[in-house]
């Protein structure tokens, strides 16, 4: 009996020490701040970590279409809404879900705006499952996600506490000023009844996002920003049917590009894949109008608790003006 127990005890001791090692190393490599130089990935999307808790009313989640098309500060100026864009480039749906989950750790948004372009990002079921598994491992063990930071560790990483103190005055928006025309015009949405397949893993994470919103009593709006290179009627049909199944509103702005005044010769930065700042202003104005009509988000412009937002707006304005005039 004693002999049988020994391997078990040894294994347990080995694993215990190993867990401690992993925990210590994880803490060591974790970014101690929310700025890029501290090793934070996509730091721009995590500026909200330094915002006061429960001060942001809406959050935009999704891939690069989000931060290219929607400027929360414009909505602050026009309506007094506080919002943040958490989108990151080439994002997969599991990351979209995780970004919302993380956002909800410090904020209680009233509205989640899900840009659905990432719903069609898939490498096939098997690959998707492997990627999701790896992402879950990364989430559980920060050492895995930030393992490469050994190259840039500083003394603070060994001694310091985690302090998120960088506020992003652009609130996640990434303005670009170059133009590359889309030559296909406005009628790229060719009507069809067919719908593109949505991969199982993406459906699963859509469901998780919807459930999280339901659980936290947050309203969920599904949108698509105008992007003729990425979007078509079949994708629209797929998302519309999915949203309908969940009883969710769906705003596909690809049908409204003309109405919002998009000039495809000037308003895209890369030939119809993403908006530049000029296109983003038009998309944001259109979205703002829709939000003001459909949702009762509070206007904080006169609220003294939100003075920092007014200051941030000035910085934002300066940045945009500088970019446009250069």
């Amino acid at each position: 009996m004693e002999k049988k127990k020994r391997p078990l005890l040894r294994s347990a001791a080995f694993l215990l020490i190993f867990s401690l090692l992993i925990a210590a190393s994880s803490w060591m490599v974790m970014p101690k701040s929310n700025i890029k130089s501290s090793g934070m990935r996509n730091a721009r999307a995590f500026g909200y970590l330094a915002e006061q808790t429960d001060t942001i009313d809406f959050v935009v989640i999704g891939d690069s279409e989000t931060y290219s098309s929607i400027s929360p500060m414009q909505l602050w100026k026009d309506y007094g809404y506080t919002g943040y864009v958490c989108g990151t480039p080439g994002q997969h749906m599991e990351d979209t879900y995780l970004s919302l989950e993380k956002f909800c750790e410090t904020q209680k948004p009233k509205l989640v705006i899900l840009e659905a372009n990432a719903m069609f990002r898939s490498s096939g079921f098997q690959e998707d499952v492997q990627r999701v598994f790896f992402r879950e491992v990364e989430k559980t063990l920060p050492l895995i996600e930030y393992h490469d930071r050994w190259k840039n560790l500083s003394l603070q990483d060994f001694t310091g506490q985690i302090q998120y103190n960088w506020i992003n005055p652009l609130k996640g928006f990434v303005p670009t000023y170059a133009s590359k025309p889309w030559k296909g015009g406005h009628d790229y949405m060719k009507k069809t009844d067919k719908a593109r397949d949505v991969e199982e893993v993406n459906r699963h994470y859509f469901d998780k996002i919807a459930s999280l919103c339901r659980e936290k009593d947050i309203r969920l709006l599904v949108i698509n920003a105008p992007a003729p290179v990425n979007w078509n009627y079949q994708k629209h049909n797929a998302i519309q049917r999915l949203a309908k199944g969940y009883g969710l509103p769906y705003l596909d702005m690809n049908f409204s590009a003309q109405e919002m005044g998009i000039d495809w010769d000037k308003d895209s930065r890369d030939g119809g894949d993403h908006m530049n700042v000029y296109g983003a202003q038009k998309v944001t104005a259109f979205l703002g109008k829709y939000l003001s009509k459909e949702y009762r988000l509070p206007d904080h412009r006169e609220d003294p608790a939100y003075v920092s937002w007014a200051q941030n707006y000035k910085e934002y304005e300066k940045t945009i003006h500088k970019g446009m005039t250069q």
Binding site: P7, F14, I17, F18, L21, I22, S25, V29, R41, Q126, V129, Q130, F133, F134, V137, E138, L143, I144, E145, H147, D148, W150, K151
Partner: protein
Amino acid sequence: MSYQAPVFLLLFFPLTLLCYQLTPQRHRWKTLLGASYLFFWSISGKLLLFLVLSTFSIHHFGLWLDSIRRDADAAIRAAEKPERKALKEARKHKMRGVLAAGILLQLGTLLCLKYANFFGANVNLIFRGLGMAEVIPTFQWMLPIGISFYTMQAVSYLTDVYRGTITADRSLGRLALYMGFFPQLMEGPICRYSQTAEALFAGSPIRYDALTRGAQRMLYGLFKKMVIADRLNVFVNTIFTHYQEQKGPVILLGMLAYTCQLYMDFSGIMDMVMGMGEIFGVRMPENFRRPFFSKSISEFWTRWHITLGAWFRDYIYYPLSLSGPLKKTTSACRKRLGNHFGPLVAGTIALFCVWFCNGLWHGAAWSYLFFGMYHFFFIVLANLTEPFTRKVLDALHIQRDKGWYRIFRILRTAGIVCVGELFFRANGLKAGLSMFHKMVTDFSLPSLEELALGIDRYDVLILVVAVGIVLMVSILQEQNIPLRKKLSAAPTPLRWSVYYAAIMAVIIFGAYGVGYVPVEPMYAGF
């Protein structure tokens, strides 16, 4: 899903171990087979059907060969002496026919899926040259993972049944497991039925010692693959993709880096495979034995991808050199050319076939054929110059296996191998020749910026330390020092420190995650 993927290491493999151990012993082979087919499906999806059909086919042909032998043997025993010879001939003839059909089915599938476009493109090229229209279309066929490996196993099984070294297996399950055991599916080793089938089917319980020893070996393999091979990936890719922009010494570095990458990748995965086998109580044949300590190209191929070399030796070289026509050639040549050069003629013909097939086995491209012929050339050259070399060395009182001459031979062999790998990796034969030309004619020194091709000084530091560790381990193994035994006997704190250091090295210094392109096991592509 490949062997170094987190989903394999943290989910698939532990779950398979758990299910295997919980299954009653006589059903364990089913758990292994189920896991193996799931693994195959996760990579190649519906193409699993090819593996299943291949298994059915060799099962059927194996039994057919056995039944012919059994019936014929009974007839021979019952026949009068004068008739026996004719009956034996008839048996041989019939069995050869069945063997040929069985092998043709296996190789035919491989040829169709892997080589059809290569042959088609070359035939079309000839037609175009003659001013005629192209006749062979391009096929968009997917290649099942490991087809080059399991086809070799299938052919060896049928041939061994034909030769009578094994009897055909009645159990389809055992044969299926022999063909599809998941650790060896992607990159081998190419096992013989007699080496693994019984152990796989036995379902031996997992023992604590085997588990720890297997995990040790897997960890070492993971270290080679993820810390060294994958970290070199960007550097190697940049040089081979943009070779026109590189200076000669950079190409030289690229060549050395690729050779290192390929070795660490392939031998690292093999260490993992061996480790997994060890855990299940299956001893597979080793595929590597420190090849860069070889003193000649012939020796190199007995240390690098050993099971492939052994397969070609047993199923192509020996049958060919012992065939009637080549035997006659040997006798005729021996009379005219003497005892050294005489047998070389037939041997060289057989060798040519081996290296032609070896080159082609690696891939359907002229650069792979060149790679095969390149090694063939150096082996033949060594055979031809052997008497002369021996005389010179004797005259100079140089001992070929000792001192500086031994080191010279090792470095010379490594040099030849590295140049071969340059052609092997280059994007086509033309690119390979161009790179080689630049390497031997352009000696302008690159600046540090020109050398920073996707790696920084920290990467270089890690690579130097990691390669140093592997080199040290190899030197000790070369001196027959039983490292693993010594490690097992070491005091627990020391032993565990080594394990923790290795695990943490893989986690922290491994080239994976954001900023790295996942690198599939390199030989899986062949």
